[in-house]
């Protein structure tokens, strides 16, 4: 028996000018989700159930970029993706290109448990959702006004090099004309949009699990798939750990980041935090990303090489932390 541990994230790469009320809202959500996970863990829920439960909560809330509140494609629509992995047995499930499924992570779980496959996408995934009877909504349920505004700015940013624009939509209190050149995925940080959500858990039996969910990159090409649904990139869990990543999807894919954390633990014998630090430092090249992870020993760790990551973590011995910046 080990002590359980849980970590959640709401995206790496945060606008340093993010208004304080938005920061507070985000922290409240992270806290609420952590507490949800903690209650479940105290009732001996398994890691795989807890990660799904927590990510559902993150998807349902419009603050972060997943489920409702997802970033928009170049066409102004929503295409959501998610993946989930159960460390004991390493079963996994993933979905991409969802347009109507209220909780993508739950559909990913059904792919894992109820289909002969590991990954379903686009119309095939939507058909499966209908067959499974999961809750579905009209595409505009997922679209928020904030994101419509962000999309517009992203399109403008993509055609204007290095012209940092002060965000207007939803950022009424931000009046500072800062010339920050911070960009992620080619967009100024203000329109990059908080990314992806995720949760990793180790339960009191030492079983690890991980889940990640996202709307993807703002203004992405229709059909673009990022790291979140790719096992080994955005999500991974095995006997020794559970990992969920967020940030520049292409860098995370190229670095097979989630698998890498586990691989250096398994093959180099690094401990959890050392593994996270190593991967962030050595495996992202010029990419910007963040990682949360738990180990079978009940440890929790996180790391990021960009400006801020919305995150929270807690362990059974009472430790709890929610943060955004370093």
């Amino acid at each position: 028996m080990v002590g359980w541990a849980i970590a959640v994230h709401g995206g790496a790469g945060v606008d340093p000018n993010l208004p304080t009320d938005r920061q507070e809202q985000a922290k409240l959500l992270l806290t609420r989700c952590l507490n949800l996970g903690i209650s479940a863990l105290r009732s001996s829920a398994s890691a795989i159930d807890v990660v799904e439960l927590v990510v559902r909560e993150l998807e349902t809330d419009p603050i972060f970029n997943s489920g409702r509140g997802s970033a928009l494609t170049e066409n102004g629509t929503v295409e959501m993706e998610a993946s989930i992995m159960d460390g004991s047995g390493r079963k996994c499930g993933a979905v991409s290109g969802l347009t109507s499924v209220k909780n993508p992570v739950s559909l990913a779980r059904l792919v894992m448990d109820k289909s002969p496959h590991s990954y379903l996408a686009f119309s095939g995934a939507e058909n499966f959702a209908k067959q499974m009877g999961v809750e579905r909504m009209e595409n505009d349920y997922f679209i928020t006004e904030d994101n419509v505004g962000m999309l517009k700015q992203a399109k403008e940013a993509n055609s204007i090099l290095f012209d940092y624009r002060i965000p207007t939509s939803g950022y009424e209190s931000c009046g500072v004309g800062v010339e920050s050149p911070i960009t992620m995925n080619g967009l100024p940080i203000s329109v990059y949009a908080p990314e992806t959500v995720g949760c990793v858990v180790v339960d009191s039996q030492g079983r690890c699990a991980a889940a990640t969910s996202t709307g993807g990159l703002m203004n992405k090409k229709v059909g673009r798939i990022g790291d979140s649904p790719l096992i080994g990139a955005g999500t991974y869990a095995c006997d020794v750990c559970g990992v969920s990543c967020t940030g520049e999807g292409e860098a995370i894919i190229r670095g097979t980041v989630a698998r890498e954390v586990a691989a250096v633990m398994e093959y180099k014998g690094l401990g959890l935090q050392a593994a996270v630090d190593f991967v962030i430092k050595e495996r992202l090249d010029d990419g910007k990303a963040g990682v949360i992870a738990v180990s079978e020993k009940g440890e929790v760790a996180y790391g990021f090489n960009c400006v801020g990551m919305f995150r929270g973590c807690a362990t059974e011995d009472g430790f709890m932390e929610v943060g955004i910046w370093e």
Partner: protein, 318 residues
């Protein structure tokens, strides 16, 4: 050190009594296509160009499960996927759900080189192909009578299978809606290294027979079916769901890097000690010109060559 190249036309339960008329065209194709790769390497083409070129040939050949000759979804349609990766830069490109693009591997390369993304799928991938002016054709071009037959058998047996199942006999009907044990071949791939140690990998497939519409396998998942870095280049084949879970391609490279194993040892370790039997085969080359082609299935259509003149074309264990 000289160049090295290895390619495969799928691993699976290829029966040892496969009739000559089914074996010979495949081995002949492997020989011919290997020579194309060899000529390109001798002409000092980059490994990235070589793997794309070779996989295009394999896609065009109707005897393998990629491009023309792709196995069919449960709806009788074709949904192809492909992936390419450059070892030095770790740039990569992948596509899924492609139904009209004559050479999915070339589309994957375009995604890598012409977009800020790595992976495009379904309608988005098809639209991008048209934007880029890639050759497209009616879906019926890819569908062969053999595959229509395979789908029919699979539906009768109510299973999802790779494309090399021996004809189904009613008396040995097993009840497996899960793709397991019945491993046959799937996927084509190529890995290459030049004399400077530059590496590249490419994989392409039609997927599993009778797969659900929208099912994505290991091929387009970086680290699962395809991977290249400065240590090695890997293309895997077998049961996609198992290859994803085992992150096969990445693990071979990881074991080389972190445990200091040579290519053959690393590849053997992953295929024979880690991956479940009957699920996995791969071809691999290393930055020092080594080649490995292990498989834990009955057979794997494969071929390799090194600059010093060694060549091999084979289907079962030697």
């Amino acid at each position: 050190m000289g160049w090295a190249i290895a390619l495969h036309g799928g691993a699976g339960a290829i029966p040892v009594d496969l009739p000559p008329e089914r074996l010979e065209p495949r081995e002949a194709a492997l020989r011919r296509i290997l020579q194309i790769g060899v000529s390109a390497l001798n002409a000092r083409c980059s490994p990235l160009d070589v793997v794309e070129l070779v996989v295009r040939e394999l896609e065009n050949c109707p005897h393998f499960n990629a491009g023309k000759g792709s196995v069919l979804t449960t709806n009788g349609t074709v949904e192809m996927e492909a992936c390419i990766m450059d070892g030095n830069s770790k740039r990569c490109g992948a596509v899924s759900g492609v139904s009209t693009v004559v050479n999915p591997i070339s589309l994957a390369r375009q995604v890598m080189e012409k977009t800020p993304h790595i992976y495009l799928a379904f309608d988005g991938a098809e639209a991008f192909a048209r934007e880029q002016g890639l050759e497209t054709i009616d879906e019926s071009h890819f569908i062969t009578t053999e595959n229509i037959e395979r789908l029919k058998q699979a539906k009768e047996a109510n299973r999802v299978q790779q494309d090399y199942t021996p004809p189904f006999k009613p008396e040995d009907k097993k009840e497996t809606p899960v793709p397991d044990g019945d491993s046959k071949l799937g996927t084509v791939g190529c890995v290459a290294v030049d004399s400077l140690g530059n590496l590249a990998a490419a994989t392409s497939t039609g997927g599993l027979v009778n797969k659900m519409v929208g099912r994505i396998g290991d091929t387009p998942i970086i680290g699962a079916g395809t991977y290249a870095n400065k240590f090695c280049a890997i293309s895997a084949t077998g049961i996609g769901e198992a290859i994803i879970r085992e992150t096969v391609a990445r693990d071979v490279a990881a074991v080389m890097e972190y445990k200091g194993l040579g290519l053959k040892e690393a590849a053997d370790y992953i295929v024979h000690q880690v991956s479940p039997k009957g699920t996995t085969g791969l071809v691999a080359v290393s930055s020092t010109g080594e080649v490995a082609m292990p498989f834990n299935t009955t057979g794997m259509f494969r071929a390799c060559a090194t600059e010093d003149g060694f060549t091999e074309v084979a289907t079962w264990a030697i």
